[in-house]
Symmetry: C2
Subunit: 350 residues, 2 copies
């Protein structure tokens, strides 16, 4: 089979790889039907996170189960499954608390082989999925039709991550919300906020097509300004004080600063942007404004089952964030398109 | 009259001061019946915050209204009142949102004279109280008896600040909680957590008398260890992962670090320690653990009315945090006793 391997900065290759085999009785083998590139894949692609040695890459995929280990109970051969962007047993205390990203026995795709982690990445033709009962979510009714497939694929990461931003920010019915970041996660955070009943949702975006998409997903306002001007514009929109909640969906020092300064006193920042370059939070400012900060790596496993029915019946359409589709063999082009912001999110099919 | 003035590092004097007069129609004049020294008063006392020129000090007091301006409606001459540690109108949008510490028209005690701030400090015989209808809370039934007075005085700051820590940390029925800091605020945070129904409350304290007091106020466990050992001990106590909530009631880099590392994945840090030395928060750690941080300067004005009935009927006894009482004229001794940790909290009476 073939799979995507990162060799270094801006060097992604689709190359021959050994067919995965069941290594542990809790494993499943999944034939990938669709995968995609994550904004966080761009950090190693750009060399911001160095690649010490070549390894498989990709952590968002859906597919069909081809084999299961002897101890796998809830996943069967032939099932169509969604893989969250990490591995978890879905039973440990952290999983039960709703934070399966801190699973005591789980791990990551494209890391190393083990009972709770996989050296396989999601951007390949086949993947060994560890802790299959915990990790994989079966889609009832089998493979969704082509119109719904992109939306189902977003549950692997971006839609659930946007949802996590909204929950971490405390979005609830009537909340006023601003979203920093107009990438796929930011757009999903707009959709998630609308779904949770936010009364007003500002997309902070300078890109016309993304502004339009944000409005389609539920944004009531668009603010292209950034920095002081962005803060001022949000205050103007929200009673002189700013919105209740700001969702930080980028991960830079600038975006977090924008978020912290934009929320009203006593408001909350929900953050899901993978911190790049390790911005630190100014606790003095947080103290004086009572703006809270909460978020992180999204425990999407628990959200998939909640959101899937709404994707399948078309109530929510997160699949709109895909604006380019390529064959998996052209994965390098997919990275380049996202890196150069020619695409928001690329869907890949083997 | 006489009042406390800070002249510089470790230089607090009780000296002659002009009798306060009504300057604005929204003012009241309060004769102080009891006041106290706050942990945060120790920052300028120790010179951590420099004193550029002598000014009045103290921001926690209760007393009797002696005069009111023409526009004051809800406060009357003869009323016994609690002053929160700041001035607010209790009507602006931030006040209505529950964050009266960010009142658009309010300010501070011991700062400068204005319609929303007062050059008078709380550690004096009389105080001009701006925005009296918003700032002052009338105690029904007049001056409480001597046994209840200390508890009522804590509503001016420490008890409500402990309550704010608990709310900011999201303490609710069944929560597991650890409290970092065994000063008056930390002890009040223990009490507040118990009041909110926390199932288990760990006081992190090395001081025997404070440990005992923490237990009296509702702590179920005491952990004297700090740093890595403290984290390990808390994990041991709470299913290998740590408590749901950690309340940071000190304000140093070490105490915030302790709090952040002690909470379980997906837990929350409620913080009310005034940040000294401006510790910054490690957003990378927060991202990977999903531990949120929320808190700040406590909007106690809104909490006083909620907690006062329980203090007056003896259901909660925050007054236990006082372990020394001195005449107001000996205010310098009060600071020294707290600075040298000979006292947790000193009550001062004119």
């Amino acid at each position: 089979m073939r799979a995507s391997v990162i060799h270094g900065e801006r060097d992604i290759r689709f190359e021959e790889a050994p067919d995965p085999v069941l290594q542990h009785p809790t494993d499943a083998i999944v034939r990938v039907v669709a995968a995609c590139v994550c904004g966080s894949d761009l950090w190693p692609y750009r060399g911001v996170q160095p690649t010490r040695s070549p390894h498989r890459i990709g952590h968002e995929f859906v597919g069909v189960v081809e084999a299961v280990g002897a101890d796998v109970r809830s996943v069967r051969v032939g099932d169509f499954v969604i893989a969250p962007f990490y591995v978890c047993d879905n039973t440990c205390v952290n999983c039960r608390n709703g934070f399966s990203t801190s699973c005591l026995h789980g791990g990551w795709w494209g890391s190393h082989d083990g009972p709770g982690s996989s050296a396989d990445g999601g951007q390949g033709e086949r993947v060994r999925a560890p802790l299959a009962d915990g990790t994989l979510v079966v889609v009832p009714g089998g493979q969704p039709d082509d119109a719904l497939l992109p939306g189902v694929l977003t549950l692997s990461d971006v839609m659930c991550t946007g949802h996590h931003a909204a929950l971490s920010g405390g979005v609830t019915a009537g909340s006023t919300v601003a979203v920093v970041g107009d990438g796929a996660v930011g757009l999903c955070a707009v959709l998630a906020s609308a779904r949770l009943g936010a009364s007003r949702i500002v997309a902070m975006s300078r890109h016309e097509t993304r502004q339009a998409l944000a409005r389609e997903l539920g944004a009531t306002d668009v603010v292209p300004e950034r920095g002081d001007d962005g803060v001022a514009r949000l205050r103007e929109l929200f009673g002189g004080i700013g919105p209740d909640v700001v969702l930080e969906c980028v991960g830079t020092k600038e975006s977090m600063d924008q978020a912290l300064r934009s929320a009203r006193p006593g408001g909350q920042v929900g953050f899901v942007g993978v911190p790049a370059g390790g911005p630190e939070l100014p606790v003095g400012t947080m103290f004086s404004t009572n703006v809270g900060v909460r978020g992180g790596v999204a425990p999407v496993r628990g959200y998939i089952e909640e959101l899937l029915p709404e994707v399948l019946d078309g109530r929510i359409r997160p699949g709109l964030v895909f604006d380019l589709e390529l064959p998996l063999a052209r994965v390098a082009d997919a990275y380049a398109a996202m890196d150069e912001r020619r695409a928001t999110k690329v869907l890949l099919r083997p």
